[in-house]
Structures are given as C-alpha cells and as structure tokens.
C-alpha cells in the first residue's frame, strides 16, 4: 500500500509542474507590460512617475532575466500565494477567485449527490432488467440527456419551473434581502443542481450498468444463486459490491465533466462561481485571471484523481499488483 501510494504521488509531480508551466504560459500571453499582471494598479501608477523604481521592480520580479528564470521566480510567488493581479479588474487574483470557490463547490457537490441518487439506482435497475422494457426506457433517457446541450436543458427547466409554473427562483444563490432565509437559499439550489446532476447521472448510469452487467455475469453469482440465496440478496451483496469498485474511479472521471458542466450551468443560472468567472475572464481577454483559475482547477482535479486511485486500491487490493505501467 505504502509503495503504491508513493508511486502514485511521484507520477503526480510532473503533472503538477506541467499545470504550472501551462499557467505560466497563459499569464505570459498577457498583452502589454508584464508588470500590469504582477502589481496592484495603485502602486504601479505611483511608480510610473519614477522609471528607476519601475526598473528596480522589474529586476526584483526577474523580468529582465531569461524565461526559465522568470518562470521560477513566478512559481516562487505562486507557492507563497501571490497569484498577481487581474488586468481587467485590477484586483488581486486571490481576491477574485477566493469568494467563488465556495459557490462552485456547493453546486458540484449537490450535483454529484443528484448524480449518485439517480445514476446508481438507474444503472442497477437497468442491469438487472437487461434488455427489458425498463432498460430500454432508461437507456433512451440517457441518450437524450447526453445529447442535449446542458444549456438547452437549463433553459427549458427555467421556462417550465421558473416561468410557467413559477415554483422556483431561476438565478443567483439568494434573493436580495433574504440572505438568512435557509428555505429561500435551498430553493435557489434546486434547479442548477438538478440540471448539472442529471447530465452526470446519465454518464454514471452508463458506467454502473456496464459494471453491474459484468459483475452479474461472473461465476460467483451463479454459485451464490445455486446455493439458493434470494435473487435480491445475490444482486445486492454479491453483484453490487463488486460492481461498485470501478464506479469509484468513474466518480473521479466525472469531476472534469462536472466542472465543464458547471461553466455552462453557472452561466445559465447566473451562479457566482468559478465557471462564470472563467467566461468573464475570457470575454474580457484577461489571461492573468484565467491563469489563476487553471491553476486552482487543475490542482483540484489532480488531487481528486489521486484520492480516487487510492480509494480504488483500498477497495480492490488486486489493483496495486497488476496495474504497474
């Protein structure tokens, strides 16, 4: 276990470095003077009167050095939490990104819960009734959910539940003036979480169904049945337990899907998260802000995939031995 853990972390290090290289590349695409993305606008304005001070600042940041040195200096800052400044708003990147992490995580966690709540049972039912009517109906629904753009589903949901029936609020996380009202808050969460969740439930259902079909075809299922165990118990105790193992990694694969979906869902529902921020940054042509988002999200996905791999190796000890690359 320990050796596997260490190997997994070692593989992650070059990837993490690659993410920072990519982020550095993005921030170096900032048009104009690189100082704009590195210093807060007020100080920069004050210094602009004094060219010598500007030169000193450039030297301090290593901007007069070759690119590899610039990268290392920049990385040094990043490690200490200095991500620089947004060129479109002039605020520190950390202050732009910080308040948006919470809303994005809230949305993605709720969506993941929705995906699990619908995707797992649907996948199991589909597998147990393989090639039955229920299986076909659920598969058709999956194809529909996977093929329809998230924003179309979101807009239709807004039209049905927000406008026609007027049951639910259709944007933002709270109603202004009702910040302490828990029910109001929850009602804002329902539509975005449901839309993002259902799209991912469709993907999860496909994996669960495939995994479950394979598990139910195994010899130990035949053995369990021939011992005279009730079919329900066989399905749950023997089939499901084994089928769930690969599903653990799928949850980690879903994370990029969740994030991509969140970019669109946050825009449709005007949700103040990182996805919405990334669209704003792209429209404003703000590479420094974009870089901050890439860094945060890339690192988060990397950590999630490590955690998933470790969880997988705990759930299924075989994996540690036969998955050496």
């Amino acid at each position: 276990m320990g050796a596997y853990f260490i190997r997994r972390i070692l593989i992650a290090i070059p990837v993490l470095l690659g993410i920072t290289l990519l982020a550095f590349f993005v921030v170096s695409m900032t048009p104009g003077d690189p100082l704009i993305s590195r210093m807060d606008p007020e100080t920069l304005a004050r210094m602009s009167a004094n060219p010598e001070q500007l030169e000193a600042m450039r030297r301090q940041l290593g901007l007069d050095q070759p690119v590899p040195v610039q990268y290392l200096r920049w990385l040094e800052g990043v490690v200490q939490g200095d991500l620089g400044y947004s060129i479109s708003t002039g605020r520190a990147i950390v202050d732009e990104i910080g308040p948006r992490i919470g809303p994005s995580i809230t949305l993605m966690l709720l969506a993941a819960l929705v995906a699990l709540a619908f995707g797992l049972p649907a996948g199991i039912l589909s597998a147990v009734h393989q090639y039955g009517k229920l299986d076909y109906a659920l598969s058709a629904l999956t194809v529909f959910l996977v093929s329809t753009p998230t924003f179309v589903l979101g807009l239709v949901a807004i039209y049905l539940f927000g406008v026609s029936l007027d049951w639910l609020p259709v944007g933002e996380m709270v109603t202004i003036g009702k910040e302490d009202d828990l029910l109001d808050r929850l009602s804002h969460y329902i539509l975005p979480a449901l839309i993002l969740g259902l799209v991912n439930a469709a993907l999860l259902m496909r994996y669960t169904r495939a995994s479950m079909v394979e598990a139910l075809g195994a010899d130990y299922i035949t053995t369990a049945e021939s011992k005279g165990l009730a079919y329900r118990i066989v399905v749950i105790r023997h089939g499901l337990r084994n089928a769930l193992i690969p599903v653990i990694t799928v949850l980690a694969f879903l994370m990029p899907e969740l994030i991509a979906g969140a970019v669109v869902t946050e825009t449709v529902f005007n949700w103040p998260g990182l996805g919405q921020l990334s669209v704003k940054a792209a429209k404003a042509g703000d590479p420094s802000l974009m870089m901050g988002i890439v860094l945060i999200v890339g690192t988060a996905v990397l950590i999630a995939s490590i955690v998933a791999d470790l969880a997988y190796s705990i759930a299924d000890p075989r994996i540690r031995f036969d998955r050496g690359r």
């Binding site: 690659g18 753009p149 429209k283």
Partner: protein
C-alpha cells in the same frame, strides 16, 4: 486438417475460403452495422440533415444574415416558416446555416485531433522509452484540466471565430486519441499474428504499416465518430457563452443564447427552441451511428457493456 473431419457448416466455409468466396471483413462489418436499427435510423437522419445543410443556398430563397424589418420577432408564418429573430432575420435560414457551421466545426476539429492524437500515439507506442514517458505525462497534464476550461483559456488567447474554435477543440482533445492508439499498438505488439509475422521474417516496418495500423482503424473510427458529437456540443456551448463563432455568422448555440433574454424565453420560443432541437437531433444521430460502428468494427469493446 482434412475436410472430412469438419462439421458440414465449417467444411462449407472452408471451401468458400479456398475458393476465395468468403465474406470479407468489410462486408461483415457492413452487415453488423445495417442490422443495428438505431444506428441506421441515426445514419438516415444524419444524411438528411447534411443534405439539407449542404443544399441550403438552393433550397432557401432568403439568407441568414440580411434582416427583414417586417419580420422583427414575428411568430412563424407562411413566408417565414419559423418566424423571425430579434433582428428580423429568418429563423429557419439561421437554423439551416447554423447547422452547416456546427457540422463544419464538428468534422473540422475531429480531423485536427485525430491527426495529432494518432501521430503522438504512434510515436509513443513505437518508440517507447523516454519519448513514451514524456508524451504520456503531457497527455496526463491535458487530461487533468477539464477540456471546456482549457478551450476557454485558449480562446481567450487566440480570440473567437470558427477557425479558432476548430483549432482549439482539436488542440485540446488529442490526448484521448493518443492514449487509445498507443494502447492498441502495445496490445498488437503482443498479438499472435504479429508474432507470427515476425517469426516468418517480415520486416518490423512492414509489420507496423501492413498489420498494426490497419487494425487500429476500427477503434479510431469509433472514437472519431463520438468525437464529432462532443465537438458539436462544444462549439454550441462556446457560441452560447459568446466565445465561439463570431456574429453575424449563424450558430445554433448563439441562437439559443438569445433565450437568456426573459421576454424571448417567455414569449418567443420559435427564436431559440428549434436550434436546441436540431443540436440534440444531430448529436443523438451521431451517437447512434457511433454505437453501430462500435458494434460493427470493434466487437470486443461492445460485448462488455
């Protein structure tokens, strides 16, 4: 083995093979594909949509860009079958020309990423060693950042437009293909028929070109087909977010974005809903065709799920 020890059916097949009349791999794949009902339905729908999109200038009297101020936000009528949008442009024309843009974006980006991915996969798989390690770590980096986010990043650098959408989707999606090609290559290296060729003295280069690459085509076609579906959805999402095709070029995603105006969402469904339905229809058809191709070309993969 002598013919008389075989069962009648096998003997018949053996005779066919000797006579050169056996069913070829291609015909077998075609037969499997045509038996897949949903795949055939998807193919027919797709061919119809492509035909309409290709013949748009012949079929339609109006173009998708010139506004007609009498048609400003008007509901469907005899002159404008799907009504007019908020600038008075014909919605039907915009849907059809938008479909063209979607298809071009989908096919274009697949050509880009399948080429890059195949090249990288072949290099990594055949060279092995350090080159393989480096290339695979690069794919890891790409795979650890959500594709849509990476695409938005590159778009923010190169700017919007159909060309950059195709280039950027292509540049972001190649790692999956590279992994697949490399994996197939490594698997084939150990396959019995490759060992057999080696044993009878076929040169290594000829083995790769004549025996291994043709065997990768099947899975690659399947990946490319599903890739078209993803790329069409991505182009639509980018245009919806305002980061895709530039106006006034019609795009289905951009048409749907007009529904973010509450009055359009509530009272003018003809402006955006047709575009949404068409995207779903295209993507669904492509996915069905992909399922059919997978069953036809890569039977080992489909048997599992």
């Amino acid at each position: 083995m002598a013919a008389e020890t075989l069962a009648p059916a096998e003997a018949e097949r053996a005779e066919q093979i000797v006579a050169g009349e056996h069913e070829g791999l291609v015909r077998m794949a075609v037969r499997r594909f045509t038996r897949h009902r949903l795949a055939m339905l998807g193919l027919v729908t797709l061919v119809t949509i492509i035909a309409i999109a290709a013949l748009a200038p012949v079929l339609l009297p109006m173009d998708p860009i010139t506004p007609d101020y009498e048609n400003l936000g008007m509901p469907p009528s005899a002159a404008h079958l799907l009504g007019g949008d908020l600038s008075g442009r014909d919605v039907l024309a915009r849907v059809i020309y938008g479909t063209r843009v979607s298809l071009i974006a989908g096919l274009g980006s697949v050509v880009v990423f399948v080429s890059i991915g195949t090249a990288v996969g072949l290099i990594a798989g055949s060279l092995g060693g350090v080159a393989d390690q480096v290339l695979m770590r690069i794919t890891d980096i790409f795979l650890s950042i959500p594709p849509l986010l990476l695409i938005i990043v590159f778009i923010s650098i190169v700017g919007a437009g159909l060309g950059s959408v195709i280039a950027v989707i292509g540049l972001v999606y190649w790692p999956q293909t590279a992994r697949l090609v490399r994996g197939q290559l490594l698997g084939l290296r150990e396959a019995e028929f490759v060992t057999a060729s080696r044993v009878i003295g076929v040169r290594e280069r000829e083995i790769v070109v004549r025996h291994m690459i043709p065997n990768i085509f099947g899975p690659l076609t399947v990946v490319a087909t599903f890739g078209v579906a993803s790329a069409i959805l991505l182009e639509a999402a980018l245009s919806f977010l305002g980061l895709g095709v530039k106006p006034p070029t019609p795009s289905l995603g951009e048409m749907i974005a007009s529904a973010r105006t509450p009055s359009v969402l509530q009272e003018q469904p003809w402006v955006w809903l047709p575009a949404g339905i068409v995207i779903a229809l295209i993507v669904m058809s492509v996915n069905f065709v992909g399922d059919g191709l997978r069953d036809a070309l890569d039977p080992k993969a489909s048997r599992r799920g």
